[in-house]
């Protein structure tokens, strides 16, 4: 309870009308810069950071927290409305969110994202308040073997999203894994799939891949069909979340939060893995799995909560150990140092007031984000009523600008176009996009963690299972793989006990389940 009173002290000193005004200003600025396609939260925070210099420390923190949450939420907004994710952790949001937007449910998608972010951000910040120093010590123990096991679990779960055609699903997955191979081999220093160019010597940016395939591919597809199909008008739906939306969102919010926070707290974690673990989990648990891929609200609520909880979790290693683990955390570290805070082992004991003010500011920024942006969601949704040709030209302009400004190299525009053409081809031949994106994200993680674990153990396979968490996760993987077989063996036995014949394939069981043989 000691921490709680300290946090309360931080809140008391932070909540003044003037400070709230700074927070509101920060949220608005952050959101507006964050919604520019191609500008992710990290970049939005970096661009706006200088605005906060020159303020009193408390005001600077509060405005900064507003910018931070505003920038994150702005990134989700573009993912949902325009299909242009600004960073790798909002890629999953784009998949269902944009489908919802196309079906006239943009306002609901934005609302569930905003509320989910609020719940996850608040719970995550409280998690930092109570557990930061203790958690940090445990978290550094979790290394490559555990992370490898979790990635393997994610890959096993990917089979659930391969789509109706397994063949096409696997083609897309392996395309993604191949794209993930591009770049320098970290262990031997050999360039792979570089085609002799130095520009391909580093890993491809998942944002360029995703924006190319999602946004550019779609624009090209629409352009290719302009003459044959009439322009579709996006239906204008309800402005707010209905009862059903609430009922279907709260579970994913809580589960996403629970998944995201630990990943943020582990230095090797990263924000992408929890977002798609949440997506896959929601699809498995959903009563309407057929809606996934067509705009399921659970597929927005879960990943968004996971993303924000993970972002809050990154404060654990950042504050307790001085370790930045994501792009945004790297900018935060620079920001904190700019405010005279030196994150590290001594921070919590040496400058406690600053830490509590910062954490209180995060809570305030998060709350104001919800207050300001929830009413704005129906307004943002109206953006989609811009006539399609202008909307698509705008998307193309900002996507290109975003790709170009990273390196000021025209080669990146060429890359964007290549992935746009790939996206067009995938639509033409009915290849699902999701397995490809997961391949691009999971492939490199899988490889680097496997090789790190093996490099540490000197090539001995025992290095893959020398952490308790890794063993536990492998047990879950084994369960996931074996359960269907075990269940299939148990089921035919059940009807015989009550003297009835096994139902034939295609018939329905008593439970109304279709028997699949």
């Amino acid at each position: 309870m000691d921490n709680l009173s300290l946090l309360w002290g931080g809140l008391e000193s932070a909540v003044t009308p003037e400070n709230l005004l700074w927070a509101a200003l920060g949220v608005l600025l952050g959101t507006f810069v964050g919604v520019l396609p191609g500008i992710g939260p990290a970049m939005a925070v970096a661009l706006l950071l200088p605005v906060t210099y020159g303020l009193e420390p408390t005001q600077a923190f509060i405005m900064f927290a507003g910018i931070y949450y505003g920038g994150m939420y702005g990134g989700s907004t573009t993912s949902i409305l325009l299909n242009t994710p600004g960073e790798s952790s909002s890629v999953m949001t784009a998949i269902e969110g944009n489908k919802m937007a196309k079906a006239g449910r943009a306002a609901q998608a934005l609302a569930t994202a905003a509320i989910g972010s609020f719940i996850a951000g608040t719970a995550g910040t409280l998690g930092v308040v109570f557990f930061a120093p203790a958690l940090a010590d445990v978290a550094v123990r979790i290394g490559a073997p555990s992370y490898l096991a979790i990635t393997i679990m994610a890959l096993v779960l990917v089979t659930a999203v391969l789509g109706t055609s397994r063949l096409r699903g696997f083609i897309a997955l392996f395309l993604g894994l191949t794209i993930g191979l591009v770049g320098l081999d970290l262990n031997t220093g050999q360039p792979r799939l570089g085609f002799g160019t130095t520009q391909l010597a580093d890993r491809l940016d998942i944002v360029v891949v995703a924006v190319g395939i999602f946004a550019l591919g779609e624009a090209l597809w629409v352009a290719a069909h302009l003459r044959r199909t009439p322009m579709q008008i996006t239906p204008v739906g309800q402005p707010f979340m209905g009862k059903d939306d609430w009922r279907r969102s709260w579970g994913p919010w809580l589960r996403g939060t629970a998944l995201g926070f630990p990943f943020g707290a582990v230095p090797a974690g990263g924000a992408e893995t929890p977002t798609f673990l949440s997506y896959l989990a929601e699809k498995k648990l959903s009563k309407h799995p057929e809606e996934f891929g067509r705009g399921a609200i659970e597929g927005v609520a879960g990943p968004e909560a996971a993303n924000n909880a993970s972002a809050a979790g990154t404060f654990v290693p950042l504050l307790a150990l001085g370790l930045p683990v994501t792009a945004t955390a790297t900018i935060m570290l620079a920001a904190l140092q700019g405010y005279g805070i030196q994150p590290g082992p001594q921070l919590m004991t040496e400058q406690p007031d600053l830490v509590w003010t910062l954490l209180a500011s995060l809570l305030i920024g998060n709350t104001l984000l919800l207050v300001l942006n929830l009413p704005l969601a129906p307004l943002w949704a109206r953006l989609l009523r811009v006539p399609r040709p202008y909307l698509y030209s705008g998307i193309l302009f900002f996507a290109s600008l975003g790709a170009y400004t990273v390196n000021l190299d025209a080669f990146d525009l060429f890359l964007l176009l290549v992935f746009g053409l790939l996206g067009l081809a995938m639509r033409r031949f009915g290849l699902p996009v999701l397995p490809l994106v997961l391949g691009v994200i999971l492939g490199p993680i899988l490889e680097s963690k496997a090789r790190e674990a093996l490099a540490i153990s000197g090539g001995s396979a025992s290095g893959l299972v020398d952490e308790p968490l890794a063993v536990a996760v492998y047990a879950v993987v084994a369960l996931l793989l074996l359960a269907p077989f075990v269940l299939a063996r148990l089921r035919p036995g059940r009807p015989r006990t009550d003297g009835r014949a096994t139902p034939e394939a295609g018939e329905r069981t008593d439970d109304g389940e279709l028997v699949d043989r």
Partner: protein
């Protein structure tokens, strides 16, 4: 962390674009303008050194013209080096570089080496350190070297750079200096100081090799211990001050991560002399003294032909180390 640096770079690039677009007015004579290329992301080591040098030269108006600083990212500096080679005869371009770029030219199999450019000057050097977690059984560098000699393949060591980078070259050259076959060393590459720190704190690896800047917090807090520093003399300041050098412990190795400035190939003798004079004038400035002090860099000015000979020697040393390890 790759994405981290890229995002940061993008942000700063965007700011730079906005800012440079805003000021199209040139103070001085355009023919005296210079470009400074930085081969890694904003905030990185080359970036700090290059920008510090430029700001001193601008402050003292050394060149009479303007500077334009551009970060050219990619392939450990190879992208920037390739562009520098393509700018042969360009008298208005400089590039900040260092030991890492020497190695990258090999690991990325470039058709040229850093020695093919025009050497201008070495500016600074940074010491590397040998780091262990506090509960490590190694109390001194001798403890570690003895254990390492006994079982080089059994001890996992790590560094913050991929093969060919300074944190990889240092343990390999240390191994060679104490009579261990470098190819038997179990080296685990990490993507920078952050992941390396968590690997050390989590006892994933026994020993880490890296520049000390990113570890000052942990060293001061007593969570990491420095067994030795790699330079000629002990560090004067900071939490690793008074840690013994390798040579004090009887190991014949001095290893520094240095940084300097190159110009494109095929420069006229006069222009080369002029560029060297700029750097010398900058070096004499009190502003530069302050930059050295603020960043904890060791002054190491070597210019012109002397720097050229130093580059030849470094290039040969990197090549032979990479060959020993079997990476060439």
């Amino acid at each position: 962390m790759l994405t981290a640096t890229r995002a940061l770079a993008a942000a700063v690039a965007a700011v730079v674009v906005t800012v440079t677009a805003g000021c199209g007015v040139t103070r001085g004579d355009a023919s005296r303008d210079l470009a400074m290329w930085i081969p890694n992301s904003p905030g990185g080591g080359y970036d700090q050194t290059g920008r510090a040098a430029v700001s001193v030269m601008e402050h003292d108006d050394v060149t009479g013209g303007d500077f334009e600083v551009t970060n050219i990212l990619g392939a450990g500096g190879s992208v920037a080096l390739t562009r520098l080679m393509g700018a042969a005869g360009d008298e208005h371009t400089l590039m900040t570089m260092g030991l890492g770029v020497v190695g990258s030219a090999y690991s990325f199999a470039l058709p040229f080496k850093v020695t093919d450019a025009t050497p201008i000057a070495q500016l600074i050097e940074d010491q590397e350190g040998v780091l262990v977690p506090t509960d490590s059984p190694y109390e001194s560098i001798d403890d570690f070297v003895d254990a390492w000699r006994a079982d080089p393949a059994g001890i996992a060591v790590g560094g913050g750079s991929s093969p060919g980078g300074p944190d990889h070259l240092f343990p390999m050259q240390l191994a060679e200096a104490v009579g261990i076959e470098p190819s038997t060393v179990r080296y685990v590459p990490y993507d920078g100081g952050g992941p390396l720190t968590s690997a050390l704190l989590g006892d994933k690896i026994a020993v880490g090799f890296s520049g000390l800047g990113e570890f000052e917090g942990q060293i001061a807090a007593g969570e990491l211990r420095v067994l030795a520093v790699s330079g000629e003399e002990r560090l004067a300041r900071g939490p690793a001050a008074d840690v013994p050098t390798l040579t004090e412990s009887g190991i014949d190795l001095v290893f520094t991560n240095w940084r300097g400035v190159l110009a494109p190939p095929d420069l006229s003798e006069e222009r080369r002399a002029e560029l060297i004079a700029f750097i010398e004038e900058m070096h004499a400035s009190p502003e530069w003294r302050r930059a050295l002090e603020d960043n904890g860099w060791t002054d190491a000015l070597v210019t012109g032909d002397d720097f050229g000979r130093f580059l030849d020697e470094q290039d040969a040393r990197v090549a032979s180390t990479l060959e020993e390890v079997g990476l060439l």
